[in-house]
Protein backbone atom coordinates (compact mmCIF):
# COMPACT_ATOMS: atom_id res chain seq x y z
CA UNK A 1 0.00 0.00 0.00
CA UNK A 2 3.00 2.28 -0.28
CA UNK A 3 2.25 5.39 -2.26
CA UNK A 4 4.63 8.12 -3.16
CA UNK A 5 3.97 11.15 -1.00
CA UNK A 6 3.11 8.97 1.97
CA UNK A 7 5.03 9.52 5.14
CA UNK A 8 6.68 6.26 6.09
CA UNK A 9 6.77 5.69 9.80
CA UNK A 10 8.70 3.34 12.04
CA UNK A 11 7.44 2.57 15.54
CA UNK A 12 9.90 1.53 18.23
CA UNK A 13 8.71 0.34 21.61
CA UNK A 14 9.58 -2.68 23.70
CA UNK A 15 5.94 -3.27 24.60
CA UNK A 16 3.68 -5.00 22.09
CA UNK A 17 0.49 -3.25 23.26
CA UNK A 18 2.12 0.15 23.09
CA UNK A 19 3.16 -0.52 19.48
CA UNK A 20 -0.32 -1.82 18.63
CA UNK A 21 -2.02 1.23 20.04
CA UNK A 22 0.20 3.71 18.25
CA UNK A 23 -0.17 1.77 15.03
CA UNK A 24 -3.97 1.75 15.31
CA UNK A 25 -4.15 5.42 16.17
CA UNK A 26 -1.87 6.39 13.30
CA UNK A 27 -4.05 4.42 10.90
CA UNK A 28 -7.10 6.26 12.14
CA UNK A 29 -5.59 9.68 11.42
CA UNK A 30 -6.64 11.02 8.05
CA UNK A 31 -3.10 11.83 7.04
CA UNK A 32 -1.31 10.05 4.22
CA UNK A 33 0.98 7.85 6.27
CA UNK A 34 2.21 4.27 6.15
CA UNK A 35 3.61 2.40 9.10
CA UNK A 36 6.53 0.77 7.39
CA UNK A 37 7.65 -1.26 10.36
CA UNK A 38 7.75 -1.90 14.06
CA UNK A 39 10.80 -2.56 16.18
CA UNK A 40 10.72 -4.03 19.68
CA UNK A 41 14.20 -2.95 20.73
CA UNK A 42 16.99 -0.55 19.92
CA UNK A 43 19.02 -2.92 17.80
CA UNK A 44 16.05 -3.86 15.63
CA UNK A 45 15.18 -0.19 15.21
CA UNK A 46 18.66 0.76 14.02
CA UNK A 47 18.82 -2.10 11.54
CA UNK A 48 15.32 -1.40 10.20
CA UNK A 49 16.01 2.30 9.82
CA UNK A 50 19.24 1.63 7.95
CA UNK A 51 17.35 -0.70 5.61
CA UNK A 52 13.98 1.02 5.22
CA UNK A 53 14.99 4.65 5.70
CA UNK A 54 11.63 5.78 7.13
CA UNK A 55 10.60 9.44 7.10
CA UNK A 56 9.60 9.55 10.75
CA UNK A 57 10.47 7.60 13.86
CA UNK A 58 8.30 7.10 16.91
CA UNK A 59 10.75 6.23 19.63
CA UNK A 60 10.27 4.98 23.18
CA UNK A 61 13.05 6.04 25.54
CA UNK A 62 13.24 3.35 28.20
CA UNK A 63 14.06 0.12 26.43
CA UNK A 64 16.31 -2.75 27.47
CA UNK A 65 19.99 -2.77 26.44
CA UNK A 66 19.93 0.06 23.88
CA UNK A 67 17.58 2.87 24.90
CA UNK A 68 16.06 5.59 22.73
CA UNK A 69 19.02 7.90 23.14
CA UNK A 70 21.40 5.12 22.12
CA UNK A 71 19.39 4.60 18.94
CA UNK A 72 19.81 8.26 17.97
CA UNK A 73 23.46 8.26 18.89
CA UNK A 74 24.27 5.08 16.99
CA UNK A 75 22.33 6.18 13.89
CA UNK A 76 24.10 9.52 13.75
CA UNK A 77 23.29 11.22 10.44
CA UNK A 78 21.05 8.34 9.37
CA UNK A 79 18.54 9.30 12.03
CA UNK A 80 15.16 10.44 10.67
CA UNK A 81 13.08 13.06 12.51
CA UNK A 82 12.01 11.66 15.86
CA UNK A 83 8.88 11.93 17.97
CA UNK A 84 9.65 10.60 21.43
CA UNK A 85 6.96 8.55 23.13
CA UNK A 86 7.53 7.99 26.81
CA UNK A 87 5.50 6.98 29.86
CA UNK A 88 7.49 8.94 32.36
CA UNK A 89 11.08 9.95 32.18
CA UNK A 90 12.00 12.59 34.69
CA UNK A 91 15.26 13.37 32.93
CA UNK A 92 13.94 13.58 29.42
CA UNK A 93 10.66 15.41 29.92
CA UNK A 94 12.41 18.46 31.30
CA UNK A 95 14.71 18.56 28.31
CA UNK A 96 11.85 18.12 25.84
CA UNK A 97 9.93 20.99 27.30
CA UNK A 98 12.78 23.29 26.51
CA UNK A 99 13.60 21.96 23.07
CA UNK A 100 11.81 21.89 19.77
CA UNK A 101 11.63 18.13 19.24
CA UNK A 102 8.16 16.82 19.87
CA UNK A 103 7.39 14.25 22.50
CA UNK A 104 4.26 12.39 23.52
CA UNK A 105 3.30 11.02 26.89
CA UNK A 106 1.65 7.62 27.23
CA UNK A 107 -1.20 6.95 27.03
CA UNK A 108 -1.10 9.17 23.95
CA UNK A 109 -4.17 11.24 23.07
CA UNK A 110 -5.39 11.15 19.51
CA UNK A 111 -5.48 14.91 18.93
CA UNK A 112 -2.05 15.30 20.47
CA UNK A 113 -0.69 12.60 18.15
CA UNK A 114 -2.21 14.34 15.15
CA UNK A 115 -0.67 17.62 16.20
CA UNK A 116 2.76 16.05 16.57
CA UNK A 117 2.63 14.43 13.13
CA UNK A 118 1.50 17.69 11.53
CA UNK A 119 4.27 19.54 13.27
CA UNK A 120 6.85 17.16 11.81
CA UNK A 121 5.30 17.39 8.34
CA UNK A 122 5.55 21.15 8.50
CA UNK A 123 9.15 20.98 9.53
CA UNK A 124 9.96 18.49 6.81
CA UNK A 125 8.40 20.80 4.23
CA UNK A 126 10.34 23.78 5.45
CA UNK A 127 13.51 21.68 5.35
CA UNK A 128 14.57 22.24 8.93
CA UNK A 129 14.42 18.74 10.23
CA UNK A 130 16.50 16.48 12.42
CA UNK A 131 19.37 18.82 13.13
CA UNK A 132 17.57 19.88 16.26
CA UNK A 133 17.57 16.33 17.65
CA UNK A 134 21.33 16.08 17.62
CA UNK A 135 21.56 19.52 19.09
CA UNK A 136 19.14 18.53 21.82
CA UNK A 137 21.15 15.42 22.57
CA UNK A 138 24.16 17.51 23.45
CA UNK A 139 22.15 19.80 25.69
CA UNK A 140 20.13 17.14 27.46
CA UNK A 141 21.01 16.89 31.11
CA UNK A 142 23.07 13.89 32.11
CA UNK A 143 20.89 10.95 33.02
CA UNK A 144 21.89 7.51 34.25
CA UNK A 145 22.24 5.41 31.13
CA UNK A 146 21.66 1.71 30.76
CA UNK A 147 24.75 -0.31 31.45
CA UNK A 148 26.12 -1.91 28.31
CA UNK A 149 25.79 -5.59 28.99
CA UNK A 150 26.03 -6.11 25.31
CA UNK A 151 28.17 -3.90 23.13
CA UNK A 152 26.64 -2.67 19.86
CA UNK A 153 29.02 -3.03 16.92
CA UNK A 154 28.70 -2.46 13.19
CA UNK A 155 28.60 -5.55 11.03
CA UNK A 156 27.73 -5.39 7.35
CA UNK A 157 25.50 -2.30 7.66
CA UNK A 158 23.80 -3.82 10.69
CA UNK A 159 24.11 -3.44 14.42
CA UNK A 160 25.14 -6.52 16.31
CA UNK A 161 25.34 -6.98 20.06
CA UNK A 162 28.46 -8.58 21.48
CA UNK A 163 28.47 -10.26 24.90
CA UNK A 164 31.14 -9.30 27.43
CA UNK A 165 32.73 -12.72 27.54
CA UNK A 166 33.31 -12.55 23.79
CA UNK A 167 35.49 -9.47 24.13
CA UNK A 168 39.27 -9.49 24.64
CA UNK A 169 39.81 -5.77 24.65
CA UNK A 170 38.63 -2.38 23.40
CA UNK A 171 40.86 -0.04 21.45
CA UNK A 172 40.20 3.66 20.98
CA UNK A 173 39.94 4.76 17.36
CA UNK A 174 39.24 8.47 17.29
CA UNK A 175 35.54 9.00 18.02
CA UNK A 176 34.96 5.26 17.69
CA UNK A 177 36.12 2.11 19.38
CA UNK A 178 37.53 -1.10 17.97
CA UNK A 179 36.20 -4.19 19.69
CA UNK A 180 38.58 -7.17 19.58
CA UNK A 181 36.63 -10.37 20.09
CA UNK A 182 37.55 -13.88 21.16
CA UNK A 183 36.46 -15.06 17.71
CA UNK A 184 39.49 -13.23 16.33
CA UNK A 185 37.33 -10.59 14.61
CA UNK A 186 37.55 -6.87 15.16
CA UNK A 187 34.41 -4.74 14.98
CA UNK A 188 33.82 -1.02 15.07
CA UNK A 189 31.56 0.44 17.73
CA UNK A 190 30.10 3.94 17.35
CA UNK A 191 30.59 4.83 21.02
CA UNK A 192 33.89 6.31 22.11
CA UNK A 193 36.12 4.55 24.61
CA UNK A 194 35.22 6.79 27.56
CA UNK A 195 31.50 6.25 26.97
CA UNK A 196 32.11 2.48 26.93
CA UNK A 197 34.26 2.60 30.05
CA UNK A 198 31.58 4.54 31.90
CA UNK A 199 28.82 2.14 30.95
CA UNK A 200 30.61 -1.18 31.41
CA UNK A 201 30.69 -0.92 35.20
CA UNK A 202 31.79 -4.48 35.34
CA UNK A 203 34.34 -6.11 37.52
CA UNK A 204 36.15 -7.84 34.67
CA UNK A 205 36.93 -4.78 32.52
CA UNK A 206 39.56 -2.17 33.26
CA UNK A 207 40.80 0.89 31.42
CA UNK A 208 44.51 0.23 31.38
CA UNK A 209 45.55 3.00 29.06
CA UNK A 210 44.20 6.15 27.43
CA UNK A 211 43.42 4.04 24.39
CA UNK A 212 42.61 0.58 25.78
CA UNK A 213 40.18 -1.30 28.01
CA UNK A 214 41.13 -4.92 28.74
CA UNK A 215 39.03 -7.88 29.81
CA UNK A 216 40.98 -9.05 32.86
CA UNK A 217 39.40 -12.51 32.66
CA UNK A 218 41.52 -13.11 29.60
CA UNK A 219 44.80 -11.91 31.06
CA UNK A 220 47.54 -14.47 30.81
CA UNK A 221 50.62 -12.62 31.99
CA UNK A 222 51.43 -9.43 33.84
CA UNK A 223 54.97 -8.10 33.97
CA UNK A 224 56.60 -4.85 35.05
CA UNK A 225 57.53 -2.71 32.08
CA UNK A 226 59.34 0.54 31.49
CA UNK A 227 58.82 3.72 33.52
CA UNK A 228 56.86 2.06 36.31
CA UNK A 229 54.19 0.81 33.92
CA UNK A 230 53.18 -2.78 33.34
CA UNK A 231 52.58 -4.92 30.32
CA UNK A 232 49.82 -7.50 30.18
CA UNK A 233 49.52 -10.33 27.72
CA UNK A 234 46.06 -11.56 26.77
CA UNK A 235 45.22 -15.19 25.99
CA UNK A 236 45.44 -14.54 22.23
CA UNK A 237 48.97 -13.18 22.61
CA UNK A 238 48.05 -9.50 22.37
CA UNK A 239 50.40 -7.38 24.44
CA UNK A 240 48.98 -4.23 26.01
CA UNK A 241 50.72 -1.51 27.99
CA UNK A 242 49.33 -0.45 31.34
CA UNK A 243 49.85 3.26 31.97
CA UNK A 244 51.77 4.02 35.15
CA UNK A 245 48.92 5.92 36.77
CA UNK A 246 46.52 3.04 36.13
CA UNK A 247 48.73 0.37 37.67
CA UNK A 248 47.16 0.89 41.10
CA UNK A 249 43.67 0.19 39.73
CA UNK A 250 44.95 -2.94 38.03
CA UNK A 251 46.55 -4.17 41.23
CA UNK A 252 43.43 -3.42 43.24
CA UNK A 253 41.22 -5.27 40.75
CA UNK A 254 43.47 -8.30 40.68
CA UNK A 255 43.88 -8.21 44.44
CA UNK A 256 47.65 -7.78 44.27
Amino acid sequence: MKESGNIRILITDDEQHARNRLHMMLKELDIAITVSGEASNGREAINLIKKEKPDLLFLDIQMPVLDGFDVIELLGDDCPPVIFVTAYDEYAIKAFEVHAVDYLLKPVRKDRLKEAVYRVIKKMESGAESRSIKQMMTEIEPRPRNLLHKVPVNYKKEIRLIDHHEIFWFEADGKYTRVHTTGGKTYLCDFNLSNIEERLNNTTFLRIHRSAIANLDYTEKIEPWFKGGYRITLKDGTELDVARRRVDYLKAKLGL
Partner: protein, 341 residues
Amino acid sequence: MRPTVKKILKKYVQIIPLVTLISGILAYMLNYFVYPDVPDDLFKTFGAAFIFTTTFTLFLVPAFHILDYYFPLRNIFEVIIHIVIQSGVLIGCYILAFYVNDHLFQIGKEMTGQDWFYNFTFTMLIAMFVIITFYIQMFINRMREADEKTLQAELSALRAQVNPHFLFNSLNSIASLVKTNPDQAEQVTEDLAELFRYSLQSSKKHEVTIGEEIGSVKTYFSIEKTRFGENIQLNVDAMPGVEVYKIPALILQPLVENSVKHGYQQTGGPFYIKLNVKNENGTIRIEVADSGPGFGTLDPEVIFSRGNGLSNIRDRLRLHYGNRAVIRPDGNCVIITVPTD
Protein backbone atom coordinates in the same frame (compact mmCIF):
# COMPACT_ATOMS: atom_id res chain seq x y z
CA MET B 1 32.48 2.09 63.75
CA ARG B 2 33.82 5.60 62.98
CA PRO B 3 30.64 7.56 63.74
CA THR B 4 30.28 5.68 67.03
CA VAL B 5 33.78 6.68 68.10
CA LYS B 6 32.91 10.28 67.25
CA LYS B 7 29.69 10.01 69.26
CA ILE B 8 31.57 8.62 72.27
CA LEU B 9 34.16 11.40 72.18
CA LYS B 10 31.38 13.97 71.94
CA LYS B 11 29.72 12.48 75.00
CA TYR B 12 33.05 12.66 76.91
CA VAL B 13 33.33 16.35 76.15
CA GLN B 14 29.72 16.96 77.16
CA ILE B 15 29.76 14.93 80.37
CA ILE B 16 33.19 15.11 82.02
CA PRO B 17 33.66 18.90 82.66
CA LEU B 18 30.05 19.52 83.65
CA VAL B 19 29.70 16.58 86.02
CA THR B 20 33.15 17.20 87.51
CA LEU B 21 32.11 20.74 88.33
CA ILE B 22 28.73 19.81 89.81
CA SER B 23 29.97 16.82 91.81
CA GLY B 24 32.99 18.82 92.99
CA ILE B 25 30.76 21.57 94.31
CA LEU B 26 28.44 19.06 95.97
CA ALA B 27 31.36 17.16 97.53
CA TYR B 28 32.83 20.39 98.79
CA MET B 29 29.53 21.37 100.40
CA LEU B 30 29.06 17.90 101.83
CA ASN B 31 32.57 17.94 103.31
CA TYR B 32 31.73 21.25 104.89
CA PHE B 33 28.66 19.89 106.63
CA VAL B 34 29.82 16.37 107.48
CA TYR B 35 33.36 17.21 108.51
CA PRO B 36 33.18 20.86 109.70
CA ASP B 37 36.41 20.55 111.68
CA VAL B 38 38.56 19.17 108.78
CA PRO B 39 40.32 21.90 106.78
CA ASP B 40 39.00 22.20 103.22
CA ASP B 41 41.20 21.17 100.37
CA LEU B 42 39.66 22.51 97.19
CA PHE B 43 42.27 20.91 94.93
CA LYS B 44 41.83 17.50 96.51
CA THR B 45 38.04 17.63 96.36
CA PHE B 46 37.83 18.66 92.70
CA GLY B 47 40.71 16.36 91.76
CA ALA B 48 38.88 13.41 93.27
CA ALA B 49 35.61 14.48 91.60
CA PHE B 50 37.40 14.69 88.28
CA ILE B 51 38.93 11.23 88.64
CA PHE B 52 35.59 9.69 89.61
CA THR B 53 33.70 11.39 86.79
CA THR B 54 36.33 10.63 84.16
CA THR B 55 36.65 6.98 85.13
CA PHE B 56 32.90 6.43 85.12
CA THR B 57 32.37 8.24 81.83
CA LEU B 58 35.38 6.60 80.21
CA PHE B 59 33.94 3.14 80.75
CA LEU B 60 30.19 3.59 80.94
CA VAL B 61 29.66 5.43 77.66
CA PRO B 62 31.46 2.89 75.43
CA ALA B 63 29.81 0.13 77.47
CA PHE B 64 26.47 1.68 76.59
CA HIS B 65 27.28 1.69 72.88
CA ILE B 66 28.51 -1.90 72.93
CA LEU B 67 25.43 -3.02 74.87
CA ASP B 68 23.23 -1.01 72.54
CA TYR B 69 24.72 -2.80 69.55
CA TYR B 70 23.87 -6.25 70.89
CA PHE B 71 20.77 -5.32 72.89
CA PRO B 72 19.19 -2.26 71.29
CA LEU B 73 16.82 -0.71 73.84
CA ARG B 74 13.33 -1.67 72.75
CA ASN B 75 11.73 -3.70 75.53
CA ILE B 76 11.99 -4.30 79.25
CA PHE B 77 14.21 -7.37 78.80
CA GLU B 78 16.88 -5.29 77.10
CA VAL B 79 16.58 -2.52 79.71
CA ILE B 80 17.21 -5.09 82.48
CA ILE B 81 20.28 -6.43 80.67
CA HIS B 82 21.60 -2.88 80.41
CA ILE B 83 20.95 -2.21 84.12
CA VAL B 84 22.62 -5.43 85.30
CA ILE B 85 25.72 -5.09 83.15
CA GLN B 86 26.09 -1.34 83.69
CA SER B 87 25.82 -1.87 87.48
CA GLY B 88 28.77 -4.24 87.29
CA VAL B 89 30.75 -1.73 85.25
CA LEU B 90 29.78 0.96 87.75
CA ILE B 91 31.12 -0.97 90.77
CA GLY B 92 34.29 -1.81 88.87
CA CYS B 93 34.75 1.84 87.97
CA TYR B 94 34.23 2.90 91.57
CA ILE B 95 36.93 0.52 92.80
CA LEU B 96 39.31 1.65 90.08
CA ALA B 97 38.65 5.37 90.64
CA PHE B 98 38.93 4.96 94.40
CA TYR B 99 42.28 3.24 93.98
CA VAL B 100 43.53 6.00 91.68
CA ASN B 101 42.27 8.70 94.04
CA ASP B 102 43.84 7.01 97.03
CA HIS B 103 47.12 6.85 95.15
CA LEU B 104 46.98 10.49 94.07
CA PHE B 105 45.37 12.23 97.02
CA GLN B 106 45.64 9.64 99.81
CA ILE B 107 41.91 10.01 100.44
CA GLY B 108 41.59 6.52 101.90
CA LYS B 109 44.29 6.90 104.48
CA GLU B 110 42.33 8.16 107.44
CA MET B 111 38.92 6.97 106.21
CA THR B 112 36.74 5.08 108.66
CA GLY B 113 34.06 2.61 107.54
CA GLN B 114 31.49 5.33 107.88
CA ASP B 115 33.51 7.78 105.76
CA TRP B 116 33.86 5.18 103.13
CA PHE B 117 30.10 4.53 103.20
CA TYR B 118 29.41 8.24 102.77
CA ASN B 119 31.85 8.45 99.89
CA PHE B 120 30.39 5.41 98.18
CA THR B 121 26.76 6.50 98.60
CA PHE B 122 27.48 10.04 97.49
CA THR B 123 29.43 8.95 94.39
CA MET B 124 26.82 6.38 93.43
CA LEU B 125 23.95 8.87 93.83
CA ILE B 126 25.62 11.30 91.47
CA ALA B 127 26.59 8.55 89.04
CA MET B 128 23.03 7.15 89.07
CA PHE B 129 21.59 10.58 88.44
CA VAL B 130 23.89 11.18 85.47
CA ILE B 131 23.29 7.68 84.06
CA ILE B 132 19.51 8.00 84.32
CA THR B 133 19.60 11.40 82.63
CA PHE B 134 21.83 9.92 79.93
CA TYR B 135 19.52 6.96 79.30
CA ILE B 136 16.38 9.10 79.25
CA GLN B 137 18.00 11.42 76.73
CA MET B 138 19.08 8.48 74.57
CA PHE B 139 15.58 7.04 74.81
CA ILE B 140 13.93 10.26 73.67
CA ASN B 141 16.38 10.62 70.79
CA ARG B 142 15.89 7.01 69.83
CA MET B 143 12.11 7.36 69.78
CA ARG B 144 12.21 10.52 67.73
CA GLU B 145 14.63 8.92 65.27
CA ALA B 146 12.48 5.81 64.97
CA ASP B 147 9.36 7.88 64.34
CA GLU B 148 11.08 9.85 61.63
CA LYS B 149 12.54 6.75 60.04
CA THR B 150 9.24 4.89 60.07
CA LEU B 151 7.52 7.81 58.44
CA GLN B 152 10.22 8.17 55.84
CA ALA B 153 10.28 4.46 55.14
CA GLU B 154 6.51 4.38 54.73
CA LEU B 155 6.61 7.35 52.42
CA SER B 156 9.30 5.97 50.18
CA ALA B 157 7.67 2.56 50.15
CA LEU B 158 4.52 4.21 48.93
CA ARG B 159 6.36 6.33 46.43
CA ALA B 160 8.19 3.29 45.07
CA GLN B 161 4.83 1.59 44.84
CA VAL B 162 3.40 4.36 42.74
CA ASN B 163 6.25 3.98 40.28
CA PRO B 164 5.08 6.40 37.58
CA HIS B 165 6.77 4.51 34.79
CA PHE B 166 4.91 1.36 35.74
CA LEU B 167 1.60 3.15 36.23
CA PHE B 168 1.56 5.03 32.93
CA ASN B 169 2.78 2.08 30.90
CA SER B 170 0.09 -0.10 32.47
CA LEU B 171 -2.56 2.49 31.63
CA ASN B 172 -1.21 2.58 28.11
CA SER B 173 -1.53 -1.20 27.88
CA ILE B 174 -5.13 -0.93 29.04
CA ALA B 175 -5.86 1.80 26.47
CA SER B 176 -4.53 -0.49 23.79
CA LEU B 177 -6.25 -3.65 25.04
CA VAL B 178 -9.65 -1.98 25.33
CA LYS B 179 -9.94 -2.32 21.55
CA THR B 180 -7.93 -5.44 20.80
CA ASN B 181 -8.75 -7.59 23.81
CA PRO B 182 -11.43 -6.12 26.12
CA ASP B 183 -11.32 -9.14 28.47
CA GLN B 184 -7.63 -8.69 29.10
CA ALA B 185 -8.11 -4.93 29.51
CA GLU B 186 -10.65 -5.71 32.21
CA GLN B 187 -8.24 -8.11 33.89
CA VAL B 188 -5.36 -5.60 33.92
CA THR B 189 -7.61 -2.86 35.30
CA GLU B 190 -8.71 -5.14 38.13
CA ASP B 191 -5.13 -6.19 38.85
CA LEU B 192 -3.94 -2.60 38.89
CA ALA B 193 -6.74 -1.61 41.30
CA GLU B 194 -6.00 -4.57 43.55
CA LEU B 195 -2.27 -3.78 43.63
CA PHE B 196 -2.77 -0.13 44.53
CA ARG B 197 -5.39 -0.95 47.13
CA TYR B 198 -3.00 -3.42 48.71
CA SER B 199 -0.23 -0.79 48.82
CA LEU B 200 -2.47 1.81 50.39
CA GLN B 201 -3.88 -0.52 53.01
CA SER B 202 -0.75 -2.42 53.93
CA SER B 203 1.43 0.67 54.21
CA LYS B 204 -0.72 1.62 57.19
CA LYS B 205 -0.35 -1.79 58.80
CA HIS B 206 2.54 -2.82 60.95
CA GLU B 207 2.85 -6.20 59.32
CA VAL B 208 1.14 -8.51 56.85
CA THR B 209 1.33 -12.25 56.19
CA ILE B 210 3.80 -13.72 53.75
CA GLY B 211 0.79 -15.13 51.89
CA GLU B 212 -0.57 -11.61 51.33
CA GLU B 213 2.83 -10.42 50.16
CA ILE B 214 3.14 -13.28 47.69
CA GLY B 215 -0.37 -12.48 46.45
CA SER B 216 0.62 -8.90 45.68
CA VAL B 217 3.77 -10.11 43.91
CA LYS B 218 1.62 -12.30 41.67
CA THR B 219 -0.80 -9.45 40.92
CA TYR B 220 2.07 -7.13 40.13
CA PHE B 221 3.70 -9.69 37.90
CA SER B 222 0.58 -10.45 35.91
CA ILE B 223 0.48 -6.77 34.93
CA GLU B 224 4.15 -6.79 33.96
CA LYS B 225 3.51 -9.90 31.91
CA THR B 226 0.83 -8.05 29.97
CA ARG B 227 3.45 -5.44 29.16
CA PHE B 228 6.39 -7.68 28.31
CA GLY B 229 4.67 -10.89 27.24
CA GLU B 230 6.35 -14.26 27.53
CA ASN B 231 9.74 -12.56 27.69
CA ILE B 232 9.56 -12.52 31.46
CA GLN B 233 8.70 -15.42 33.75
CA LEU B 234 8.21 -15.66 37.49
CA ASN B 235 8.49 -18.81 39.51
CA VAL B 236 7.17 -18.64 43.08
CA ASP B 237 8.26 -21.43 45.36
CA ALA B 238 6.88 -21.09 48.89
CA MET B 239 7.29 -23.86 51.43
CA PRO B 240 3.85 -25.04 52.63
CA GLY B 241 2.89 -23.41 55.92
CA VAL B 242 5.18 -20.43 55.49
CA GLU B 243 2.32 -18.17 54.27
CA VAL B 244 0.95 -17.53 57.77
CA TYR B 245 4.07 -15.89 59.17
CA LYS B 246 4.06 -12.11 59.38
CA ILE B 247 6.60 -9.72 57.94
CA PRO B 248 6.60 -5.93 57.40
CA ALA B 249 4.45 -4.96 54.41
CA LEU B 250 5.74 -4.14 50.93
CA ILE B 251 8.97 -6.12 51.11
CA LEU B 252 8.55 -8.81 48.46
CA GLN B 253 6.99 -6.89 45.60
CA PRO B 254 9.65 -4.13 45.52
CA LEU B 255 12.31 -6.85 45.33
CA VAL B 256 10.68 -8.47 42.31
CA GLU B 257 10.06 -5.06 40.78
CA ASN B 258 13.77 -4.31 41.19
CA SER B 259 14.58 -7.44 39.25
CA VAL B 260 12.28 -6.45 36.40
CA LYS B 261 13.44 -2.84 36.42
CA HIS B 262 17.17 -3.40 36.54
CA GLY B 263 17.71 -7.01 35.44
CA TYR B 264 15.35 -7.02 32.48
CA GLN B 265 16.43 -3.54 31.39
CA GLN B 266 19.94 -4.88 30.94
CA THR B 267 19.21 -8.16 29.22
CA GLY B 268 16.13 -7.54 27.10
CA GLY B 269 15.80 -11.17 26.09
CA PRO B 270 14.03 -13.96 27.98
CA PHE B 271 14.20 -13.17 31.67
CA TYR B 272 13.48 -15.39 34.65
CA ILE B 273 12.80 -14.47 38.26
CA LYS B 274 12.66 -16.96 41.07
CA LEU B 275 11.05 -16.15 44.40
CA ASN B 276 11.82 -18.71 47.04
CA VAL B 277 10.43 -18.61 50.61
CA LYS B 278 11.52 -21.23 53.12
CA ASN B 279 11.31 -21.87 56.83
CA GLU B 280 14.74 -22.95 58.01
CA ASN B 281 14.50 -23.99 61.66
CA GLY B 282 12.54 -20.98 62.82
CA THR B 283 14.07 -18.51 60.40
CA ILE B 284 12.24 -17.36 57.29
CA ARG B 285 14.55 -17.21 54.32
CA ILE B 286 13.36 -15.20 51.32
CA GLU B 287 15.38 -15.32 48.14
CA VAL B 288 14.73 -13.39 44.93
CA ALA B 289 17.04 -14.44 42.10
CA ASP B 290 16.95 -13.51 38.42
CA SER B 291 18.70 -14.41 35.22
CA GLY B 292 20.04 -10.88 34.80
CA PRO B 293 23.66 -9.81 35.03
CA GLY B 294 23.48 -9.20 38.80
CA PHE B 295 24.71 -6.23 40.74
CA GLY B 296 28.14 -6.05 39.09
CA THR B 297 29.84 -5.52 42.42
CA LEU B 298 30.29 -7.50 45.60
CA ASP B 299 30.36 -4.46 47.88
CA PRO B 300 26.96 -4.31 49.63
CA GLU B 301 27.46 -0.65 50.55
CA VAL B 302 27.76 0.27 46.87
CA ILE B 303 24.60 -1.71 46.08
CA PHE B 304 22.61 -0.17 48.94
CA SER B 305 23.66 3.33 47.96
CA ARG B 306 22.30 3.01 44.42
CA GLY B 307 18.82 4.14 45.32
CA ASN B 308 17.16 1.00 44.05
CA GLY B 309 14.80 0.54 46.99
CA LEU B 310 17.02 -2.01 48.72
CA SER B 311 18.20 0.46 51.35
CA ASN B 312 14.59 1.32 52.12
CA ILE B 313 13.80 -2.36 52.67
CA ARG B 314 16.90 -2.67 54.86
CA ASP B 315 15.84 0.34 56.96
CA ARG B 316 12.36 -1.01 57.48
CA LEU B 317 13.65 -4.48 58.42
CA ARG B 318 16.01 -2.88 60.93
CA LEU B 319 13.22 -0.82 62.46
CA HIS B 320 11.07 -3.89 62.77
CA TYR B 321 13.54 -6.57 63.84
CA GLY B 322 16.62 -4.69 65.05
CA ASN B 323 19.62 -6.87 64.29
CA ARG B 324 17.65 -10.06 63.96
CA ALA B 325 16.87 -9.61 60.27
CA VAL B 326 19.46 -9.70 57.51
CA ILE B 327 19.26 -8.47 53.92
CA ARG B 328 22.12 -9.49 51.69
CA PRO B 329 22.59 -8.86 47.96
CA ASP B 330 24.58 -11.67 46.44
CA GLY B 331 25.50 -11.85 42.76
CA ASN B 332 22.18 -11.84 40.95
CA CYS B 333 19.98 -12.44 43.97
CA VAL B 334 18.86 -10.80 47.20
CA ILE B 335 18.47 -12.90 50.33
CA ILE B 336 16.45 -11.82 53.37
CA THR B 337 16.30 -13.75 56.61
CA VAL B 338 13.85 -12.83 59.36
CA PRO B 339 12.97 -14.56 62.65
CA THR B 340 9.56 -16.23 62.93
CA ASP B 341 8.67 -15.03 66.43
